[in-house]
Symmetry: C2
Subunit: 364 residues, 2 copies
């Protein structure tokens, strides 16, 4: 049975793992803490694919103190030779007495083999301490592993009464500079930003991460030299994007979807880019596991209707615009309340003068 | 200069005052703490019009310990003989050395005279400690005093995308039982509930306070025998309310507005009950200073357009309904973003599975 001390150590390992959230993709975030008696003798986290795993950092720091110690790892140690030797072997060689894992690795190449390797070497293994939190940390990684599809976050902004613009389309500055700055950290954590030619053209949006606009607390753990720009995936069936747009004059790769010479995508019955196929392609060919969507009501509604949204990140500005404005979603055509998408609120807070709501979509 | 101790004592006096929030109307909520050295020797709050003021309770408890003590009062002590003798006199007679008031009383019958009376008796008086909080506690009382109009809270409920019903009108159970229970405490604090015949008939709403549905924490400080039912003010120009409705079979008085035999009200240019006139009448003739509105988009929009809403209490259910649903407000006809009503978020929290946002309307 896990003790309170075990939970505290795993919580700390999760906190370490979280430091890699801007940089490890397509690898998962993993943290490791090594404890001798009740003293932390080693700690580490995975920083970037190709660099050492969390356990390697922690074991290096612990040195001979690892002998007889307990290692807390947020994910089952790997058992296969990849770009680095298996971590299970590292823990065995260091002669740790016990390993506590938050969860088993769903990767079929590991899937319990790491735990088995440890147990066969006589190491006591406990699995399942803070498992929901560990799962949460790598939602994109696990979703892609399980389904071949990326984790999709949909960002939207509206007035308190759910309007994104006035009847005549005017919408400038619905949300505050603080809210727009808050968006930067979500972009920075995503592998790709999905948008449409309409949003890019209407807002002349660059859809890039601007390091100096990230919150100071993030700048202190994520230096400008480590900045990664998400791939910008723009739906542009008719090839309307033009070279003078800011999009083409800001950092980061661009993938135009649906038009000639770029990523071609099948068209669905509504004449739109087939989104499930696009997402599967992005996951498979572009190694993407986490997509951040910034677009208008049309794309948002298509994603919602097709069950492709995992989480909504909604900024509400303290304004009331009236129902002659433009709504967050298009007509969805529901006739019964039990057809309506249900969500679970994960977080609600004020961001400057605005409110930010994070809610996961319940899938039937 | 007020010390940290002064602020702590005033905060405690405000907490005491707040205990009267269900019962003191049309009197204000007032709390009093008497401190000898650094020890509380007396405390009290006003409970109901006609019963002793906060200072009287606190002085009775302090007895001879009031001599040379400091009294913290959330509102300037009264100086006139009403249903009770003036509290300023009580404090002088008890020989307190100092009085700290959160704010001056805006009531023209008091307005600095209580403070003057104390000073003339040689008592040191300090004014303005936690004044904004003290103002907040009696917004209805102060607004009516200053303008002759009641403080108006507008309650609304919608999906996350601001829809109150599907296109076909279906809306049952948008918000949770917890949110509906939360509403009870706002009703209980109001002097009147304003609604329309349409809302009353569509929902067969009783619009009464049900003590056993109040949060347990409130039940413990507000007993069933003290329960007051707000006046239910129903706009019903065409006299459509019928006697079998729940409204007529639940506790509390009812005022039908606009139809024969009840409160007659002038009709405005749009053929609607003239709301500013109605509110002024309710304040003057019915002693009302705090109105809680539960109605649909039409009344909400009229109130908003006429600048009659002070605060919005908005419940958002974790659902997405699409813009073919019915919006929170009607068409408001704005063409520029600077015409849009702006609000200040006062409080955001989860209530069961829903979100509750409290926001005050900024008046130009």
């Amino acid at each position: 049975m896990a003790t309170r001390f075990d939970f505290e150590m795993m919580a700390y390992a999760l906190k370490l793992a979280n430091k890699g959230r801007f940089t490890t993709a397509p690898n998962p975030n993993v943290g490791c803490v090594i404890v001798q008696g009740n003293q932390i003798v080693g700690e580490g986290y995975h920083f970037r694919a190709g660099e050492p795993h969390a356990e390697v950092h922690a074991l290096r720091m612990a040195g001979e103190n690892a002998q007889g110690a307990t290692a807390y790892v947020t994910l089952e140690p790997c058992s296969h030779y990849g770009r680095t030797p298996p971590c299970a072997k590292g823990l065995i060689d260091a002669k740790v007495a016990k390993v506590v894992c938050a969860m088993q690795d769903p990767n079929p190449q590991v899937a319990g083999k790491g735990i088995q390797m440890l147990r066969e070497a006589g190491i006591e293994v406990e699995v399942g301490v803070l498992e929901p939190q560990a799962y949460q940390l790598n939602r994109g990684f696990f979703k892609r592993m399980a389904s071949g599809m990326p984790f999709v976050q949909l960002k939207m902004a509206a007035s308190l009464d759910g309007q994104t613009a006035l009847a005549n389309g005017k919408s400038q500055w619905i949300t505050s500079p603080q809210a727009r700055q808050d968006v930067q950290q979500f972009r920075a954590q995503s592998g790709a930003i999905l948008s449409t030619q309409k949003t890019v053209i209407d807002d002349n949006a660059s859809l890039s991460v601007r390091w100096n606009e990230l919150p100071k607390s993030i700048q202190s753990e994520y230096s400008e030299s480590d900045l990664r720009q998400p791939l910008r995936v723009i739906l542009d069936r008719r090839g309307l994007l033009t070279p003078e747009l800011k999009l083409f004059h800001s950092d980061g790769d661009i993938l135009q979807v649906g038009c000639q010479g770029q990523l071609e995508a099948p068209i669905d019955a509504n004449g739109q880019v087939c989104l499930p196929t696009l997402f599967a392609t992005l996951a498979k060919q572009h190694n993407l596991q986490h997509i951040w969507v910034e677009a208008g009501a049309t794309l948002a509604s298509s994603l919602l209707k097709q069950g492709l949204v995992d989480e909504l990140v909604l900024y509400l500005a303290p304004k009331l615009m009236g129902s002659d404005g433009k709504g967050l979603f298009s007509h969805l055509g529901f006739t019964q309340m039990d057809q309506v998408p249900q969500l679970d609120i994960q977080d609600v807070r004020q961001v400057g003068p605005d409110i930010r709501i994070i809610a996961t979509i319940k899938h039937a």
